[in-house]
Amino acid sequence: MKRRDSLKTMALASLGASIFLESCYGISRETITRSLTRYEYGRTPEEKEIDDKLFAQKFFTNDELLTLDKLCNIILPPNEFGSIRDAEVVQLIEFMAKDIPSYQEPLRNGLVWIDKECKTRFTKIFIDCELSQQKEILDEIAYYNPNENMDDQSEPVQWFNLVRNLTMTGYFTSEVGIKELGYKGNFPNVWDGVPQDVLDQYGLEYDKEWLDKFVDQSKRNIIAEWDDDGNLIT
């Protein structure tokens, strides 16, 4: 498949992909406005300005974004919870490359390297290769000895590790990823201790002498009063 064809196929294959391309590629005013209004997270005017500036810049080329999209999909293939596209992983990588400029060189070098490697072996760039060919190369750079320092690994291994890290963090900090991980907090609730079955699992229990001291959640809304010795009486 020619590169142009693959691009077309991909864009046609799913609406998500075309939106993904547009939102990453286009830097029209509407895109910037859309990006900024969806990120409401308590910024100061100065911080908003910084975000604004970053959104208006573009680091990766369209081809590079497509390659990243493919790579991230191999790193975390879609499952019943979601996909790296649902999690907007490639958009995150694009943003982080601008937010942390030291990412730029290694990320780009790796993309150049893998296309070159694919051309040498399969006479095609990465994205045009068969999945089995892509995996053949990834298998050589995807593993490392965790007892060794990452800085001592070869550049392709370091690069893939960076892409894997960004993919993992992009997915598991997204709505779908957090759901899959099972984190259940960040909303108003009442903490009343470790569930009994979990205590049992680890053979733990709360100290009997401490139990009376803990907050009685049924009385949390009664205004606190103390006697002169500091004993709570309400």
Binding site: K184, G185, N186
Partner: protein, 574 residues
């Protein structure tokens, strides 16, 4: 710069709106005095949806909450950080002092750890115990009534433990420990390290009808929108406004100097309106500095006049000296027993539910002063960085292969989620005259105000203490069945002792005492040299205990504010 002068004369001008400034605002305004609060940052209210970060998710930020813009992450409520554009600070020699500034109404109280420990009787009289440093001019009994009032006004949870140097207070009931904290309790007790419920200023039980009750989202560093944690704005300044106090807030207003008259008395302040880039003057009968230990020292040192050629209140030449921060050391560990955890909501309050107060006798140790141990861990809210090196812990199972791709990464992610525990020591250093901040003779900030530079060296006292921390942590972690994540730092790395300033407990720059030659302020935090200037941040601290400074800042500020009110009644300020 255009200079405008305001005709109004305030009874009191308060510089800074953090813990000390907030308390002074409340006490002085409620006594009927007219007050100007001058804050270098913008207005901030944790309940304002435009400014709120509480309950936001990582994906609400385009960087998923990464710490590239705010050091502790996008959701941390501190406007500023270790570096502020256009407002540099310097170092003397090879000093590497870290100075954290938060420029917003409420200052650093919006994001702090809420660890609210009283200093104990010994903490005011360390020199009498070990011959080092200096005693405070006051004792625990002098400040106890104010600690009591602070507890009742603001709210702090904890338990009565009857430990001499860890005084009990008027506590709200504490929350139950989380799973990793139960592991810590087990590990610490095996080494005879005492563990007690934490003492945090988080409202676990209603304290009044103006503030909400904690809803356990773990977001205290994001500042609470129902005012269930202590922040100076939500707990002191807003209530003072509500009760009808005469309070004018000047925000985005950075004080340059305290102005003085021919007799050398303070007449007010000059400040830069950062939005207009103009300089203004405010008149006040009394000036209360609460800009933080180093910022207040900077203002005083920059307030030179014929009567105060060495800086205002600096006849002792001690302003800026005896600067000291808490010691800090940390260890993080993987707990194999905690792999593949059942997931449930264990957010709790924003901070630890248990801790270890200092438990040893220094007579049997090779260093003075102690430290307390904080514990952290659990199944936290994922943010940027979650999932990095997802299966590098494979090495702890003898598997010399990590990385890969595909579904194995999903299962590894879940396997290791919530399997780490961290312990941190926060201890007392001995204040040294040779550790100081001073005006850098050659530098000004973007407003043209001379900046600070720091000179700071840890001594053997702190380095030996840090070694003790590491040995203790290693033992406790071993007791928990844990494996430290990184090598134990050795002598060459000061045994992991954090850089000075890193713990953000910097104190001591305008220390109090009875002798004007060896101290800058008196026991009411008033300058010895000038009777209408007070400093109610941590500058007047003679020594920083192995506690966190905020509760003591609040208690002292209350005591000093009452003193100011009395002086007004006696017509000593006119």
């Amino acid at each position: 710069m255009q200079i405008k002068n305001s005709a109004k004369e305030y009874d009191v001008i308060i510089v800074g709106s953090g813990a000390g400034g907030g308390m002074a605002t409340k006490i002085l305004s409620e006594a009927g005095l007219s007050v100007a609060v001058v804050e270098a940052g913008p207005y901030y209210d944790p309940a304002n949806p435009e400014q709120m970060t509480q309950l936001k998710w990582a994906w609400h930020s385009p960087r998923r909450g990464a710490g590239t813009r705010r050091f502790f992450g996008d959701y941390d409520q501190a406007y500023g950080g270790w570096e502020i554009d256009g407002e540099p600070y310097g170092q003397v020699g090879d000093t590497d002092f870290k100075w954290f500034r938060s420029r917003m109404l409420g200052g650093r109280t919006n994001h702090w750890g809420r660890i609210s420990l009283r200093f104990g009787p010994n903490d005011f009289k360390r020199k009498s115990i070990d011959g080092l440093g200096e005693n405070w001019p006051i004792s625990y009994d002098d400040i106890k009534p104010y600690y009591d009032k602070v507890d009742k006004l603001i709210g702090v949870f904890g338990t009565k433990e009857n430990m001499y140097n860890e005084p009990d207070g008027f506590f709200l009931p504490p929350p139950k420990p989380r799973l990793h904290e139960l592991f810590y309790i087990k590990g610490a007790r095996k080494s005879n390290v005492k563990v007690i419920p934490s003492r945090l200023s988080v409202v676990t039980k209603r304290i009044n009808n103006d503030r909400g009750v904690c809803y356990y989202c773990n977001g205290c560093a994001r500042s609470c929108n129902v005012y269930a944690d202590f922040s100076s704005g939500s707990c002191l300044i807003f209530p003072a406004q509500k009760s009808g106090g005469q309070i004018d807030l000047y925000v985005n207003s950075m004080v340059r100097t305290v102005t003085t008259n021919d007799e050398g008395k303070a007449t007010g302040v000059s400040f830069i309106d950062k939005e207009e880039n103009k300089e203004y003057k405010l008149k006040g009968k009394v000036v209360v500095l609460a800009a933080s230990a180093c910022s207040s020292a900077r203002i005083l040192l920059n307030s030179k006049s014929k009567q105060h050629p060495n800086g205002l209140g600096n006849s002792s030449d001690l302003i800026g000296k005896y600067l000291h921060d808490s010691t800090g050391g940390d260890m993080m560990a993987f707990i194999p027993e905690l792999i593949d955890r059942k997931t449930y909501n264990e957010d709790g309050v924003g901070g630890m539910h248990v801790y270890s107060p200092w438990w040893l006798d220094n007579k049997k140790l090779d260093f003075p002063r102690g430290y307390h141990i904080e514990v952290w861990g659990g199944m936290g809210n994922p943010t940027y960085g979650t999932g990095f090196n997802v299966n590098s812990f494979n090495k702890f199972f003898g598997i010399n292969k990590a990385g890969g791709y595909g579904d194995v990464l999903r299962s590894d992610m879940k396997k290791y989620y919530g399997s780490t525990i961290g312990v941190s020591g926060r201890g007392e250093s001995v204040a040294q005259k040779t550790n100081y901040c001073e005006i850098d003779p050659n530098k000004v900030d973007k407003y043209g105000v001379p900046t600070l530079r720091f000179n700071y060296k840890w001594t053997d006292n702190e380095i030996k203490q840090a070694k003790h921390m590491q040995d203790t942590f290693e033992e406790i972690i071993h007791n928990m069945g844990g494996i430290p994540l990184w090598g134990k730092p050795g002598k060459d790395a000061n045994y992991g002792l954090n850089k000075p300033g890193w713990i953000i407990h910097e104190v001591g720059t305008t220390r109090m005492g009875n002798n004007p030659k060896t101290s800058v302020t008196n026991e009411f935090e008033r300058l010895h040299d000038v009777n209408n200037v007070y400093i109610v941040d941590a500058g007047p601290f003679v020594s920083q205990a192995d506690k966190n400074p905020t509760w003591t800042i609040l208690a002292l500020a209350w005591r000093s504010s009452e003193h100011i009110v009395e002086q007004f009644k006696k017509q000593n300020f006119s």
